[in-house]
């Protein structure tokens, strides 16, 4: 059917001539003219509707739905300037600095430094020192006998905010610190520094304070370790590969492996040990994530490696190069995959069988290791517990073995610290260091972990959002639903909030905001609906749409062509008669 025929409602005949007016009689000519014009108008309207209305409608309804995303904000996150502020309160005791300097108190000094890392986000470290005079009870505490007592008395009244530090400056000749020591770093965010009676007292003391503060909070290697996965250089350093990635929670599993129950009847008071030694550590660490603990005993579980016999010490040993092959045969029996979706840390206590007792672990140089334990990054640790040979005197198998949980937990907690990335700090020279107390973790070590984790979370969240934006550009048929878009908005807002909180020195809320940023961005990226629609090659697209559009398009196009030819003829006609 041609569009020009519609006005007449006749049967379509292919052999009909194109221009009907030449063959019709004159009285019908006016009517047919009208009909022809009507026909032309109808054809034009059809074409207009099809092209102006239909084509955009089809395009809009067949495109993949993409809720609007804040692309500009996401690209702005990459150029984010992170300012990490550490608020320090510096308390001057009575005779620590010259009198005229004491008159200038209280005031604030800011020390800002950019951390030189080859990372797209610029990170600046800002130490804000608020100087003030000591209060009465502080003077009293600082006149006590030993610095440990003084520190514990000073920290009792109020709890320190996460991320902040307090430094006490005592007089140069005070006997609080041992004679040759210039400073002391305590376990609970306090430090003591010797003062100086000098004209430039504030500057010199200020430098010492910065050294102490850097050891207790942020240094370049802490941040480099946090961003290890995002920095392109130097992937091979083992220090940077050791810590666990930041996660919302962790699962710690203690397993006792008894390969020889016929000879050893092993008992371990794991519940008591966890309650006494591990729980305080985990309670301190609970800010960094939700950690749950479980334990199990496995019988007839052997290590996959045969130990060698050393006749000199008549003991068995595992060489350092065979240690990597120990873990895999054991891992399948640990059941760690059923535990939870959080990363699992396994701590194994292996009591060697009677035929292979005593068993020692040797390091690369062939010397036996004092702890008799080794660990694997991001997996856990294994300790070998040798049964006391005196226990065999009763000569009745199986021998009852009571595991000394304190010795075991000392090693396991040390391994837990290493696996979490809590490393030894770089102490300034001539500094007295307290060492971790019974909890195994000092509060400012937790702060360092939180700084590192916050930065790592922000880096991860930014990378995830950027890669989502890049993916959407590259692969054109990924659908973004509304809830995914709202997660992306929340993630962007959380990143910005975390950066603000870090700049104002609120570590706890900054860490919480950074965790929310990571969760939201991961949820948006890994949403199951984002699976790209199965690929449509171009020829298949044509094969689908051509049978629908071609029968409709052909009459419209042909009538348009006819109209165009007619109008061109009518333009030419006046020329001819001329």
């Amino acid at each position: 059917m041609r569009a020009s025929d519609w006005g007449r409602r006749t049967q379509p005949r292919l052999s009909e001539p194109v221009l009907p007016e030449a063959s019709m009689a004159a009285p019908g000519a006016a009517a047919t003219d009208l009909e022809v014009v009507r026909g032309k108008r109808a054809a034009l309207f059809f074409a207009a509707v099809a092209i102006l209305l239909g084509l955009p409608l089809w395009w809009k309804t067949t495109e993949t739905y993409r809720a609007p995303l804040p692309y500009s904000q996401i690209s702005g996150l990459n150029a984010l300037q992170l300012r990490l502020m550490v608020p320090i309160t510096v308390v001057f005791a009575r005779e620590s600095v010259p009198l005229d300097d004491q008159q200038k108190l209280p005031f604030t000094v800011v020390h800002e430094r950019e951390i030189p890392l080859k990372y797209k986000m610029k990170i600046k470290c800002r130490f804000q020192k608020a100087y003030r005079r000591a209060l009465d009870h502080e003077e009293e505490a600082l006149s006590l006998g030993s610095v440990q007592e003084a520190a514990s008395m000073l920290t009792e009244p109020q709890k320190q905010v996460e991320g902040s530090l307090t430094v006490y400056v005592i007089s140069e000749h005070s006997s609080l610190l041992p004679q040759d020591m210039m400073s002391y770093i305590g376990p609970k965010r306090t430090a003591v520094v010797r003062g100086l009676m000098h004209r430039e007292a504030f500057n010199i003391i200020g430098r010492r304070i910065i050294q102490v503060a850097q050891a207790m909070s942020l240094t370049e290697d802490v941040l480099a370790a946090a961003l290890a996965d995002h920095l392109s250089e130097d992937k091979w350093s083992s220090d940077k590969r050791r810590p666990l990635k930041s996660s919302l929670g962790y699962e710690v599993t203690f397993s006792l492996l008894n390969p020889d129950p016929k000879s050893h009847d092993v008992h371990w008071d794991i519940e008591g040990a966890v309650q006494r030694y591990v729980q305080p550590f985990l309670n301190t660490l609970s800010v960094a994530g939700n950690i749950s603990v479980d334990s199990q005993i496995l019988y007839y579980a052997v290590l996959g490696v045969n130990p060698r016999f050393d006749p000199a010490s008549s003991s068995y040993y595992l060489a350092a190069h065979s240690l990597p092959h120990v873990i895999n045969p054991v891992e399948s029996r640990l059941g760690s995959s059923a535990a939870s979706l959080y990363p699992v840390l396994n701590f194994l206590l292996y009591v060697p069988e009677l035929a292979h007792s005593p068993l020692y672990i040797r390091d690369k140089d062939g010397a036996p290791v004092a702890t008799n334990a080794f660990h694997s990054p991001r997996w856990g640790g294994i300790m070998v517990y040798n049964v006391n040979p005196k226990a065999y005197n009763s000569s009745e198998l199986p021998v009852r073995v009571e595991v000394d949980m304190m010795r075991v937990m000392e090693v396991f907690l040390a391994q837990l610290r290493l696996l979490f990335g809590i490393a030894q700090p770089q102490l300034p020279p001539k500094c007295l260091f307290a060492g971790p107390q019974s909890e195994g973790l000092m509060t400012w070590e937790l702060d360092r972990l939180l700084w590192a984790r916050s930065v790592e979370n922000l880096a991860t969240a930014t990378t995830t959002l950027t890669s989502l934006a890049q993916l959407l550009g590259k692969i054109s048929n990924i659908v973004i639903k509304d809830d995914v878009a709202s997660e992306v908005y929340r993630a962007v807002a959380a990143v910005q909030k975390a950066a603000e909180e870090l700049a104002s020195g609120q570590l706890a809320s900054a860490f919480a905001a950074s965790q929310e940023a990571v969760t939201c961005s991961e949820r948006a990226f890994f949403d199951p609906s984002l699976l790209h629609l199965l690929y449509f090659p171009d020829d298949q697209k044509f094969a689908i749409y051509i049978p629908l559009f071609l029968p409709m398009a052909v009459p419209i196009l042909l009538s348009l062509v006819k109209i165009f030819l007619e109008t061109r003829k009518s333009w030419k006609k006046p020329e001819k008669t001329d």
């Binding site: 083992s238 990597p324 059923a338 991001r378 640790g381 300790m383 304190m406 090693v411 195994g440 984002l530």
Partner: protein
């Protein structure tokens, strides 16, 4: 002349010694650095093994996948790090004359379906969508842990696929296909989220080389059993079972892997030489331009085995002991043990009681 010769001779020998020592020092340092540089930066290994065809006559594809599964487990990758997808069940297939076995060698020499095969995706769960979801990580939250690929940026992943394929596609379950572009896009999504450190992709299908043509993400090495336009052929039929047991390429790869142990230093160039045209009839191909390291420095165990980085623990924490509490708990433990009586099972089927109840019920009924 004599006076000048000797000092110059001594000088020359001194210079020679100095040069030698410098050279040896330099080479030692260089080797140390080189060894460090060429070591892969991975800390864990994953494997995704996919068999895409169903029906009894495609027995060989299931046997292919299970043989690779067996080698990978033997070389150290634990089940928790292997995602095994088998599209059909051959071991318990009603047409299997030897139930609960899948053989890979003629005369039933080697049963690759042992006691501890853990199939994660089976039968109709093996679809293009689930495969892509496993790769990209976009899994519904109710999926159990064993069905997820929980790799991170320090994981080396081995992906092995087998089935029927063509130029640019691989057939899944006889009803759908995955194209090489979808696969390349899936790998790009994995790369964007840093879900792998390095990836080894092995495919044993007809025209397998077409599947790796479109990869564009870095750190991918690919091997295929045949070039575009060639068919991969099967190895040998077994008259007792009645079907072909393995494909040629995987058969020779398996023979190669049987000689590897977790400590061996064989590299990828040897794997590229496996199955020459005389044995395989098709021409195996490989692609290494996207891979950063030189294949001769890549160990087979980097992908097929799982060797962990291990460090000796040298530090301990000093804890305060609390002997009072410890003794108490010990005593409680003993007391608890002594006071428990031996336990018995409850009667599972108290027949006497049931009969008694029935009789009393009947007598009650009769009374009314």
């Amino acid at each position: 002349m004599g006076a000048t010769c000797i000092p110059s001779g001594a000088l020359m020998s001194l210079a020679g010694i100095l040069l030698l020592s410098f050279c040896s020092l330099a080479t030692y340092q260089f080797e140390d650095q080189a060894e460090q540089f060429f070591r892969s930066g991975h800390t864990n290994n994953w494997a995704v093994l996919v068999c895409t065809s169903r029906f009894w006559f495609n027995y060989r594809h299931v046997a292919n996948t299970l043989s690779v599964y067996r080698s990978v487990k033997r070389l150290g990758i634990p089940d928790s790090h292997i995602v095994l997808m088998l599209a059909d069940d051959m071991a318990c297939n009603p047409r299997n004359p030897k139930p609960a076995t899948v053989f890979s060698h003629k005369n039933m020499e080697l049963n690759v379906y042992g006691d501890d095969v853990e199939v994660d995706y089976r039968s109709y769960e093996v679809t293009v969508e689930s495969f892509l979801r496993v790769l990209t990580g976009r899994i519904p939250p109710s999926t159990p842990r064993s069905k997820r690929l929980l790799s991170d940026d320090r994981s080396n992943i081995l992906i092995y696929m087998t089935g029927h394929g063509g130029n640019g596609f691989l057939k899944f379950q006889d009803s759908e296909e995955i194209t090489n572009i979808e696969l390349a896009d899936a790998f790009e999504q994995m790369w964007q989220k840093r879900r792998y450190n390095e990836l080894l992709f092995i495919i044993d299908t007809c025209q397998g080389a077409s599947m790796y043509e479109r990869f564009y993400s870095p750190n991918i090495m690919a091997l295929a059993s045949s070039q575009v336009g060639e068919d991969s052929l099967s190895h040998q039929p077994d008259p007792a079972i009645g079907v072909h047991l393995m494909d040629r390429y995987t058969y020779y790869v398996l023979e190669f892997l049987e000689e590897i142990n977790p400590a061996s230093q064989t590299n990828m160039n040897d794997l590229f030489q496996v199955c020459p045209k005389s044995l395989c009839v098709s021409t195996p191909g490989h692609r290494t331009d996207l891979f950063q390291r030189d294949p001769k420095n890549v160990l087979i165990t980097d992908f097929f085995g799982s060797v962990r980085k291990v460090e000796i623990t040298t530090e301990t924490i000093s804890l305060l002991s609390d002997p009072g509490v410890m003794d108490n708990s010990y005593r409680e433990d003993r007391v608890d043990e002594e006071s428990t009586e031996p336990l018995e099972y409850a009667e599972q089927l108290p027949v006497a009681q049931i009969i008694h109840q029935q009789i009393s019920k009947q007598s009650h009924a009769r009374n009314f």
